[in-house]
């Protein structure tokens, strides 16, 4: 009884901020206030038509897509190498690749900023993309590694004995069997990259900034519920992505696997 109450309280506590944001976003009053006084979608219209949000959304799409697509093959190769390769200091490599952001975001952001400034790349999205690849990498490697651990190495041998070249064996046997891990990795990469704020703040400007940074700038300058509407859209999109992935690939099966089995 106490256990159930605790769980309910915990869930309520975790979802409360989200609920507040959504409720505020449909409140017609022009200041961020709670409780609401009516229902209106005007802040959604505002959010969707605000030019800086539109530009940032495009940036977000480009950066997240590029970073995810780059991180996937690199992370997959790293996971395969960590599990299968004859790697010296495998443990050190694994720790480096897997410790998700032991470096504080501010420090990482400053590092990327100094590097980008030194290379004269501050005006380009490239720095942002590179930074995102680095930030999502631990999630990709970890997800794919789970699948690699569950992969019987004899299967690749079997494929080659049956006449498959290493590439064909990878495509017909290894890749399909890694699909759950790849899906989870991609999903993590997209979510982490899309929500990344601290490092992105350091290495972007008005032209290249992504949505979370644009939203932060908006809050600094204005206090109307447009930002709540934008946040609600963001929440909705993330939810949809997770739901779709679960629907098609069964995420529970992926996440419940024990990495150290």
């Amino acid at each position: 009884m106490i256990g159930r109450a605790a769980v309910i309280a915990l869930v309520a506590f975790m979802t409360l901020p989200t609920v507040v944001v959504i409720v505020v976003s449909v409140n017609p009053t022009a200041i961020l206030s709670f409780p609401p006084t009516g229902f209106s979608l005007r802040w959604y219209v505002n959010a969707l038509t605000y030019p800086q949000f539109q530009r940032a959304a495009v940036n977000s799409l480009i950066v997240t897509a590029a970073a995810s697509l780059l991180a996937m093959p690199i992370g997959t190769a790293a996971a395969l190498a960590l599990e299968r390769g004859r790697l010296r200091g495998r443990h050190v490599w694994a720790t480096l690749l897997l410790s998700p952001l032991v470096v504080p975001g501010v420090a990482a952001g400053l590092g990327f900023l100094i590097l980008a400034a030194g290379l004269g790349l501050l005006r380009s999205r490239a720095v942002l993309i590179v930074a995102h690849v680095a930030l999502v990498m631990p999630f990709v490697v970890r997800s794919v590694w789970v699948s690699v651990k569950n992969l019987d190495p004899m299967l690749a041998r079997a494929a080659s004995s049956l006449g498959a070249t290493p590439w064909r064996s990878f495509r017909r046997v290894t890749l399909p069997l890694l699909a759950p891990g790849l899906t989870a990795g991609l999903l993590f990469a997209v979510i982490v990259s899309a929500n990344e704020f601290v490092v992105s703040l350091f290495v972007s400007n008005r032209v290249t900034e992504i949505l979370p940074v644009a939203m932060f700038s908006y809050v600094v300058n204005y206090t109307d519920p447009t930002i709540a509407a934008m946040s609600s859209l963001f929440i909705g999109l993330t939810f949809a992505a997770v739901w779709l992935a679960d629907r098609f690939f069964g995420l529970a099966a992926v996440f419940l696997l024990d990495l150290d089995r």
Binding site: M154, A158, A159, S161, L162, G163, A164, P166, P176
Partner: protein, 355 residues
């Protein structure tokens, strides 16, 4: 002399400081089933991997069908392999597993359907093509793996302990079935096993391996009845060892005045120290005092231990001179056996092996 389909010439393979295979020469003849038999770590699986191409030799050549394939990767060798764990592709149906090798060979679609059907029929898996490997029993998975390796008519079939993962009863059934299928296909086969019964019952020839070398190579009966080395005598069938000194070209004194008649590969020199091996099933246990058949040596023994094995009982015996040997008595025993009981042992001269 039959043609060699697979040849290993002076093949050596080191793993770090361990020499798994040591300057091995081996020729597998057209159509034969050759077993590589030995304890774990003897190099038999590495030898198979050298032939398959999964492992490259540190020195030596691998010849298949007269062509040097040493530098060729596995997918260019065109051999069939059945793995101990079967290594069926879990994300493919049984049909797709079996069709894998044909698709890699770009066989026409209609042809694939026909040949997979034939292969599944050969291993009695008709109608199972749509199932996933994990939905099959161990025996069925084993047969599916066999069909997958046979469907593209490889030059040579390599079997790596294919029966080891099955339980005892099923293993015996599958052994008989495997023999039938392989006889029907008539394919040159190399079979790795640590199970001597498997090797003796399936093989045309057995290569007994130890420490990366072949101790003896020959037909099952030769290997069993005339082991070339002490290792082979010990490993196959097990044998008791008796020390003695030759008192004639075909007589050995075992100590305390007990003498046995022997018929060995060569005449002995009087005074020569010899070590004799004798298989437990060649030792006849009889009631004490009875007269034996002519030509057999009789010696007195005392039972020190009885081990009931079901169809047989293993009898440990102490004989004169402080030596001991094992006998196998088929159950039900014609005479009562009890620890401490005195018996007479009848030993035919050709029961002895010179070690």
């Amino acid at each position: 002399m039959a043609r060699a389909v697979v040849e290993l010439r002076g093949c050596t393979r080191d793993f770090g400081t361990v020499r798994a295979v040591d300057a091995l020469d081996l020729a597998v003849h057209e159509g034969e089933l050759l077993s590589l038999l030995g304890p774990s770590g003897c190099g038999k699986t590495t030898t198979l991997n050298l032939i398959a191409g999964f492992v490259a030799p540190s020195a030596g050549r691998v010849i298949v069908d007269g062509q040097d394939v040493t530098a060729r990767p596995p997918h260019e060798r065109g051999l069939g392999v059945v793995f101990q764990s079967y290594a069926l592709f879990p994300h493919m149906s049984v049909f797709e597993n079996v069709a894998f090798g044909l698709r890699e060979r770009r066989v026409a679609k209609s042809e694939i359907g026909r040949r997979v059907g034939e292969a599944l029929a050969l291993v009695r898996l008709q109608g199972q093509g749509e199932r996933r490997p994990r939905q099959l029993s161990g025996g069925m998975q084993q047969r599916a793996a066999l069909a997958r390796a046979l469907v593209y008519a490889p030059r040579v079939l390599l079997l790596d302990e294919p029966l080891a993962a099955l339980d005892r009863k099923l293993r015996q059934e599958m052994r008989a079935e495997l023999r039938e299928i392989l006889r029907e296909v008539g394919i040159t086969t190399v079979f790795v096993t640590h199970d001597q019964e498997e090797a003796l019952s399936l093989s045309d020839r057995i290569a007994v391996m130890n420490q990366g070398r072949i101790e003896q190579l020959g037909p099952p009966r030769d290997v069993y009845e005339r082991p070339a080395t002490r290792f082979v005598a010990d490993f196959i069938g097990g044998s008791s060892r008796l020390r003695g000194r030759a008192s004639g070209p075909d007589r050995v004194e075992l100590g305390s005045g007990v003498t046995v008649e022997v018929r060995l590969g060569r005449p002995l020199q009087v005074g020569e120290d010899v070590e004799l091996g004798i298989r437990p099933e060649r030792v006849a246990v009889t009631p004490p005092g009875g007269a034996g058949a002519s030509g057999t040596s009789r010696l007195a023994g005392r039972i020190t231990r009885l081990t009931y094995l079901g169809a047989q009982t293993e009898v440990a015996l102490a004989i004169a001179g402080g030596q001991s040997l094992l006998a196998l008595v088929t159950e039900p025993s014609p005479m009562p056996l009890a620890v401490g009981g005195e018996v007479a042992l009848a030993l035919s001269p050709d029961a002895f092996l010179l070690l």
